[in-house]
């Protein structure tokens, strides 16, 4: 008899069906794994569980009682606690104060300090968490902060605790402590939802497992006894990879982009690489490997401390993006919302923001050209929108990405196109369209650099892959050398095994 039940959960965002008809149950005193590729719907499901988002259809029930949360606070009060990757603690307060926040033991508004310490101390002790309660949270390591978050859940008598990628920034020793704590909570009869993309952790920790794929339930295992890792990977990926890439071989021309010993404040080790005309070069690595930092240096978005960038043999001394753009380098940033779209402005304005300088006179806009440019790229890139005057914020992720691409393609004379996580949060159909576009641009002689955290993607569409790890370029492989194991091995810091990354 399951304790926590998801029943036919469906959730649609504009343009994307994030979850459709997902149902499964978890028994009491179990650690339940939740796996899936990026965009499979894990986070959406967790958000619905935490009351942050509402399901369009379906319901969640705990102990047979249907839960309807108006807010995360509601979920809290019902004993459902989600521990996110970004921890929610107040850095300037002590551990004890953080754990008592909202429920300070007090008389007439004055906090009873001794009682607070006693209460918190007792709880920490019973949970087996060994942290000095008097320390300010800002002095704790990430691992210790995670413990405090879990202690918060224990203080609140949580019945369901969801952990979202809890080990992503923990050392292996810290992870061990976390696992011991999770084992303890399981013994106390809690339900733990464990979201992770690390197969070895899931197999070690979890009693049962659900795999999501493209918002649908791909598999549910009530026990992991007879399940193999390969089976889970197959369930996560699900489709034949060759289907969506549509790779076409091309002939590479002369060197277009040459980066020599480039370094900056966030990238200490000087990095060098080349990209040829007609070539698609992939940059793979874990989050924090320094790929985006390197690209921002090439684009002049961050100040460089050394090194040189040349395009077609000409040195680029750009210290800011508009210099780089004039030299023919453009960058589609990883964080579309923060660094890409201009919220509140129309598609037309978002496309024309850079290229309009080609057809202005004395700073006065040429309306006819702007309208024509916008219409051209809306059509060419198949942006799904009722009109060019639509506010970009109303488009789906894929269509926003196309508008940003349109912004750069409307520039005349782009020689180097850098795309950072071009398909993040984009559904499969739009992905293939974007790949196809990249092939066309490469065939027209552009040098293309693709930064991606999705290994199948870089392997699927690139001519050459550079692997980064810990701020340096660790390996370089040509298409005939592509092998998942070799690439992963180069991407992982020594202490971890390739199995640690599933996708």
């Amino acid at each position: 008899m399951s304790f926590l039940d998801f029943s036919q959960i469906t959730k649609t965002y504009p343009g994307v069906k994030a979850l459709s008809d997902v149902s499964f149950g978890v028994v009491k005193g179990a650690v339940h794994g939740l796996m899936g590729e990026n965009g499979a719907g894990k986070s959406t499901l967790i958000k619905i569980l935490s009351g942050d988002q509402h399901a369009d259809e379906g319901e969640i029930s705990i102990d047979g009682k249907v839960q309807a949360y108006a807010s995360t606070r509601d979920a809290f009060d019902n004993g459902v606690i989600v521990i996110h990757q970004e921890l929610q603690l107040v850095p300037e307060l002590t551990v004890a104060e953080n754990l008592s926040l909202g429920r300070f033991p007090a008389s007439a508004g004055i906090i009873a300090g001794r009682r607070m310490l006693e209460d918190v101390g007792a709880k920490l002790k019973s949970a087996g968490i060994d942290i000095d309660m008097r320390r300010k949270v800002k002095t704790l390591s990430i691992g210790e902060r995670q413990m405090v978050e879990i202690a918060k859940a224990i203080m609140l008598d949580a019945r369901v605790i969801a952990l979202d990628e809890p080990t992503s920034s923990l050392s292996s020793r810290e992870s061990e402590i976390l696992f011991a704590l999770i084992d303890r909570l399981r013994g106390e009869g809690k339900v733990i939802i464990y979201v992770s993309h690390r197969l070895d952790e899931v197999f070690r920790l979890c009693d049962s497992l659900t795999v999501l794929r493209d918002g649908k339930l791909a598999a549910h295992h009530a026990s992991l006894k007879d399940v193999t890792r390969d089976q889970v990977v197959a369930e996560m990926v699900g489709r034949e990879i060759s289907d969506i890439w549509g790779f076409r071989p091309r002939k590479a021309g002369d060197v277009r982009l040459k980066v020599e010993a480039l370094s900056g404040a966030k990238l200490r080790t000087p990095a060098s690489f080349e990209a040829r005309a007609g070539e698609i070069v992939g940059f793979f690595g874990l989050i924090g490997a320094g790929r985006s930092e390197l690209m921002r240096l090439v684009f002049g978005a961050d100040p460089r401390t050394g090194g040189a960038v040349t395009v077609d043999g000409k040195g680029i001394h750009a210290t800011d993006p508009h210099g780089a753009i004039r030299a023919g380098i453009v960058l589609c940033s990883e964080d579309r919302k923060h660094d890409g779209i201009i919220q509140g402005r129309s598609i037309e304005e978002n496309i024309n923001i850079s290229s309009r300088r080609h057809h202005t006179r004395f700073g006065v806009l040429n309306r006819a050209s702007e309208i024509a440019t916008a219409e051209t790229f809306i059509k060419k890139l198949k942006v799904r929108t009722p009109s060019r005057n639509q506010d970009i914020i109303n488009l789906s992720g894929g269509n926003q990405q196309k508008v940003i691409l349109g912004r750069w393609l409307s520039e005349q004379g782009v020689r180097v196109l850098i795309v950072d996580e071009p398909t993040r949060g984009i559904d499969v159909g739009a992905k293939s369209e974007i790949y196809e576009l990249l092939y066309q641009l490469a065939e027209d002689g552009m040098a293309i650099v693709v930064v991606s955290s999705e290994l199948p993607e870089v392997m699927g569409i690139c001519d050459r892959i550079l692997v980064m790890c810990g701020g340096r370029i660790n390996a370089e492989l040509t298409r005939d050398q592509f092998a998942e194991k070799a690439i992963l091995a180069a991407a992982l810091p020594d202490k971890k095994t390739p199995d640690a990354i599933a996708s």
Binding site: A301, P321, I342, Q343, N352
Partner: protein, 316 residues
């Protein structure tokens, strides 16, 4: 019925509709309101606020803020009077006033854009510094205008309409064009919408912001000259609290304090609503003390309306 009303009030033209309704109501209810004389008086009373609102609109649209405008207006007025008295040349006086305004604005812009100091703090500081300069220059007293030609700036008429109103109208036209039809205007709105994305899209964000503040200074210089001419002297204590009236008018006109949204027509309507409210209260002999309350309430209502409108837009 209520749905339709909501749609009109919260739509693009909601503000204009409200303005027209208010105008019609006041015309019908307040005696002596809809006369040539009163209309010209009303427009003349909003000249200072209206002129400064032109560039405050750019400031707010780029997610910035300028509290120093009142001080710059007073200071520029002082400079115009003192320089033209000293040199005997009105033109020289006017140019130096505009140059001083531009200089203060430029300093604001550089500190804010290059040194990344919060605009609120920066202009709070320059507001006090510049007011101090105005007081020191005149030893705290008003400085009379020597040349009667200087009065003529405010008194002269073209086609029966006083020059300051023409200046206001021309500036409305110019800045409306600049906002909608120039790279500068579009970049301003883009910066307000998302500063980092604009920078990465190749917009020279720092330079644009410095220009915005410099223009703000120039426009404050013009407003200061016209004000000095109208009150026939340079007053170091002139235009105290102007910044709040100007920002109120802009917000009333639908300019978003979060940046990225501004229209000239909205700002014009905002300025006029403020003017009409004040004018009507004067005609009705409502004591000045109560007028503060009414102005505050109007502003609050405008902001609430704006809030409703953004959430209505968000839902679409």
């Amino acid at each position: 019925m209520t749905d339709q009303l909501k749609k009109i009030l919260l739509g693009e033209q909601g503000l204009v509709v409200i303005f027209l309704v208010a105008f019609a109501l006041v015309s019908a209810l307040v005696p002596n309101f809809l006369t040539d004389r009163n209309m010209l008086g009303l427009l003349q009373s909003v000249v200072t606020v209206g002129i400064v609102a032109c560039t405050m609109m750019f400031c707010l649209a780029a997610r910035d803020f300028d509290l120093s405008v009142g001080s710059i207006v007073a200071f520029a007025g002082m400079v115009a009077v003192m320089a033209s008295n000293a040199t005997g040349s009105i033109l020289l006086g006017l140019l130096s006033a505009i140059a001083c305004g531009a200089f203060v604005g430029f300093i604001n812009g550089v500190v804010i854009a290059k040194f990344r100091i919060n605009a609120l703090i920066t202009t709070l500081a320059t507001m006090q510094i510049v007011r101090g300069f105005a007081l020191i220059a005149s030893d705290g007293r008003a400085v009379g205008i020597n040349s009667p030609d200087f009065y003529q700036l405010a008194l002269s008429k073209l086609l029966g309409i006083p020059t300051p109103i023409w200046v206001l109208a021309v500036l409305f036209g110019i800045f409306g064009f600049v906002l909608n039809r120039t790279v500068f205007g579009k970049n301003t709105l883009a910066i307000g919408g998302n500063p980092e994305a604009s920078r990465l899209a190749g917009v020279n964000v720092d330079r644009t912001r410095i220009w915005i503040f410099t223009l703000q200074g120039v426009v404050c210089g013009i407003a200061g000259i016209l004000l000095a001419s109208r009150i026939t002297s340079g007053q170091p204590n002139a235009a105290v609290g102007l910044e709040l009236s100007v920002i109120s008018a802009c917000v009333l006109g639908g300019v978003s304090l979060a940046g990225g949204r501004a229209t000239m027509s909205g700002v014009i309507v905002g300025v006029l609503i403020m003017g009409i409210a004040e004018n009507a209260m004067n005609l009705l002999n409502i004591p000045a003390f109560y007028q503060y309350i009414v102005r505050g309430v109007i502003l609050l209502l405008a902001v609430l309306l704006d809030n409703l409108r953004s959430s209505a837009l968000g839902r679409r």
